[in-house]
């Protein structure tokens, strides 16, 4: 793209530059297949230390979401993509707060609550 021409904001789903096209989708498809395969393998294999499996799955899932964002939705860090990235960052913040906050607070509630049978007894 001509540097002195008008750089307009890029839309999600298309890359303003002349690089994308089939190569981007093939690359994304290949990486996604590898990461999906790795996820199913990690869940099934006995080679990974048991308690570490959910962490491995979370890492693989986040990596694959990144692959989808970059190669399928064409979200980049280029200056013409600032609006899209900022909206995405805000979305990620809210998702983290909702999921992380719920798990955190509910784990504390579970931990601090009287077992249900004792609670029932006390209400009689």
């Amino acid at each position: 793209m001509d540097n002195r021409g008008d750089v307009q904001a890029a839309t999600p789903g298309e890359d303003g530059s002349d690089t994308p096209g089939i190569a981007s989708y093939l690359m994304g498809f290949g990486l996604a297949i590898v990461l999906t395969g790795a996820s199913f393998w990690a869940a099934d294999t006995g080679l990974i230390y048991g308690p570490a499996v959910p962490i491995a799955l979370a890492v693989l899932a986040i990596a694959q979401m990144g692959v989808h964002l970059v190669f399928f939705l064409h979200i980049t860090t280029a200056p013409d993509n600032t609006n899209n990235i900022l909206a995405l960052a805000f979305g990620v913040l809210i998702v983290t707060l909702v999921v992380g906050g719920s798990l955190w607070i509910m784990a504390h509630l579970d931990h601090n609550m009287m077992p249900m049978d004792q609670l029932m007894q006390r209400q009689r």
Partner: protein, 210 residues
């Protein structure tokens, strides 16, 4: 573009409409940015369902657990269908850019078939679970499961209907700018659904079996 009257952007040194002096951005940019914000809000809604599922996962009330109900082979086939359909949806975007009607029909048909296969497998899974007494009202875990996975399935259904409508529009009206914008939004929607499915098969099925 109306580049002549625009002052250079202070950082990039380039002309940038929508950064002040340049006036409003072209409608294509505004539409897809608006749709991108909608998709993010949709993902926020899914995050609430994910949070509910994660909290209620262990509350099976003596009923069947995920380990007893899930079939990873079916989930792998579903994942393959949806992932490949995301790729064919990319081919749909490329065909639309190239203004190739034949390409659009071919890629859209592949996307439709793969999406419908995904939906078919999911519905038969649900039917099998209901037949075994694992209905949403059985336990908190099953309520959360059917809400989360069912909402994603409804999105896929809506996407398939949307794609059929888009095909009809391309067939009858050709490559109007509005039709092309809608095709672009559909592609974003379909790719976003695949992202939600990545979280879904990882959290619900793979972690549920572990």
């Amino acid at each position: 573009m109306i580049a002549a009257a625009i002052e250079a952007h202070p950082v990039s040194g380039a002309m940038a409409p929508g950064h002040g002096d340049g006036g409003p951005a072209p409608i294509r940019i505004i539409v897809s940015f608006g749709f991108w914000v909608f998709l993010l809000s949709d993902i926020v809604m899914f995050s609430a369902l994910f949070a509910a599922y994660a909290v209620l996962q262990g509350h099976t009330a003596g009923g069947p657990t995920g380990r007893q109900l899930f079939n990873l082979r079916h989930v792998a086939i579903e994942t393959g269908c949806l992932l490949t359909s995301s790729f064919t949806c990319g081919l749909l975007t490329l065909s639309a850019d190239a203004r190739s009607k034949a390409g659009i029909y071919l890629a859209a048909t592949a996307t439709l078939v793969l999406g419908a296969s995904f939906l078919g497998i999911e519905i038969s899974e649900f039917a099998g679970m209901v037949a075994r007494g694992a209905v949403p009202s059985r336990s908190a875990f099953l309520s959360a499961f059917f809400t989360l996975v069912g909402t994603h399935g409804l999105h896929v259904t809506a996407g398939l209907i949307w794609l059929l409508v888009m095909l009809a529009q391309v067939a009858t009206r050709g490559f109007r700018p509005a039709t092309m914008r809608r095709l672009g939004c559909f592609a974003l929607f379909w790719h976003a659904l695949d992202i939600v499915w990545v979280a879904l098969f990882s959290v619900v099925y793979l972690m549920g079996m572990g």
